[in-house]
Amino acid sequence: MILSIAWRNIWRNKVRSITIMLSIALGLFSGLLVLSLYQGMMNSRIRSVIESEVGHIQLHHPKFKNDYEPEFVIKRGEDILNQISKLPEVKFVAPRSISMGMLSTANGTAGVQINGVVPGLENNISQLKSKIQEGDDFDTLKRNQIMIGRKLAGKLKVRRGSRVVLTFTDPAGEIIAGAFKIRAIYKSENTQLDESYVFIMKNDLNRLLNIDPDFHEIVILLHHNEDVKPVNQKLKKIFSSLRSETWMEISPETELMTKTVDQYSYIIMIIIMMALAFGIINTMLMAILERTREIGMMLALGTNRLRIFLLVLYETVILTLAGTPFGLFASWLLISYFNKQGLDLSYLGSTEMLNNFGFGTMIYPEFPKEKLSGIVIIVIGTALISSLFPALKAIRMQPVDALRK
């Protein structure tokens, strides 16, 4: 009956109760919106890392990544590519030859990572073609074409059709230089990469390095993110002479960022709920003070203090939980809308800043389903903590004093 009294007490002052329920709904709505934005940004960053930069898994010669020495190639690379492409979990696979070098123009020089790619295969992995802002995709019949990032082009004051010189060392340690014509200028969501990654055709780089038909890197894109670890294990067993790494190992900063943002999002939620807790405490204290005489009477009749405590606790929890579905539903509705339509943050004038951190400006907020249990625990925790002060106030009443009020 205590639960029934608690439920009915809530409706004694409808306006007050509805106001507090709406505050809880609004707090939850705001919290979930922030969480979904973070989640959307992080998913977009992970997608960008996987689909535009490193793929799900990469294979190299075990020593290649120590100093990016061109001599450490993957031998019989074509056979390995064929084997990998036959794995059912694999969506696309592509080879890359890589060299560290200098890009020189009449206006200056810059240190770059030269990526030798097979255009048809690379476009499946990093969607290079779709990032072209100016110019065209590689013409496979022509030699010595290069694609450079918008940021680097601006820095070196070059444009489509400009000539540049790439200088790097071959496996024997000899310095090689090659003149290239800018075929296209691309722009990705990661300004740092745009400034340091240049793309040429694998055949051109292999010829200059004299490593044909080998190459340095195999990039793999899978059908499903959750297959990353098992497929990586499988590849490690099959190609034990190569180093197989997942995107989390290749880009540990992205994983760290995801985890940090996860923690921040919970902290934001807790801050919102703490602010709400004061509203709940205030409302419940008012309700208790208005009912001093009634509580005194219940104590006089023989209602023990635990039951009085539970009465206040139930009222607070019901108030809080009643607001929760509204907050969840409203946020789900809005987040689902923006998940389909996308939320363009470029209107906030933060494109440059977001790109510098490797984030795109178009965010697709995602309802944080996997965090729901954590959120509900935070909400219930808030309700329980908020009820403590009013409940203690109620049980400390002396019936003889309370009845005089």
Binding site: M1, I5, R12, E294, A300, L301, G302, T303, N304, L403
Partner: protein, 236 residues
């Protein structure tokens, strides 16, 4: 006769450290089962304080109170709550029903606290509402009942757990004559038929006229007790 209430030398003092004010001063009170007693006196004479102490709502600064032989002044606050639930029925001046519960639920509430099972509760509620002649108002909320009806429900609630006695603090103070008369009829009937002990504090002459024993309190002291007078007459 069975002794229900036995208060020895009880006093309640306010402002003990400055100018002491005795709300109740060295009172002896002895009530037997089945008595129908009015505690009368002017405002501030200590009636409510004495009633609160007998009901275990307040503790005396001096003296002891025995209810059915148990010294309630020795009980802790939590033990007193349980003692009140099992032994004492209260009827307050301003009705004091739980407003969100129906008349039936108000009476049932106290039985639920005693963990009485549903079947026994239903039977007892029906019996009590027949006694207060309000069977047709079982499902009404207090706000839809008159003052007299609310006070009758309060009496039913006080009787619900079959207490040792009922303490009623000015039960007719907020009632019109007809309602007050009805309430007194019901209480007198319960006293007569079920031998329930009643102790009222009152100003109301109608209650005093119906009481079989009248105790007069002035400045915290008993100055007259009709039972003592009649005993003295008998002894003479």
């Amino acid at each position: 006769m069975d002794t229900v209430i036995d208060a020895h030398n009880i006093s309640k003092v306010y402002n003990r450290n400055t100018i002491p004010v005795y709300a109740v001063n060295n009172v002896h009170l002895h009530l037997n089962r089945g008595e129908f007693t009015a505690l009368v006196g002017p405002s501030g004479s200590g009636k409510t304080t004495l009633l609160n102490m007998i009901g275990g709502l307040d503790k005396p600064d001096e003296g002891n109170i025995f209810i059915n032989g148990q010294d309630i002044t020795a009980l802790s606050a939590n033990e007193l709550i349980d003692f009140r639930l099992r032994n004492i029925g209260f009827v307050f001046q301003s009705f004091n029903l739980i407003p969100v519960l129906t008349a039936k639920e108000n009476v049932e509430f106290i039985m639920q606290l005693q963990k009485m099972d549903k079947k026994d509760r239903d039977e007892r509620v029906l019996q009590l509402f027949q006694q207060i002649e309000m069977v047709d108002k079982l499902d009404e909320r207090p706000s839809r009942l008159s003052g007299g009806q609310q006070q009758r429900v309060a009496v039913a609630r006080a009787l619900a757990t079959k207490p040792q006695f009922i303490l009623a603090d000015e039960p007719t103070a907020n009632l019109d004559s007809k309602s007050a008369s009805n309430l007194l009829d019901i209480m007198a009937k319960l006293n007569k038929e079920e031998n329930i002990t009643f102790l009222f504090s009152t100003h109301d002459q109608r209650v005093i006229d119906r009481a079989r024993r009248v105790i007069t309190l002035v400045d915290g002291r008993i100055i007259n007790d009709t039972a003592a007078v009649s005993t003295a007459h008998q002894q003479a």
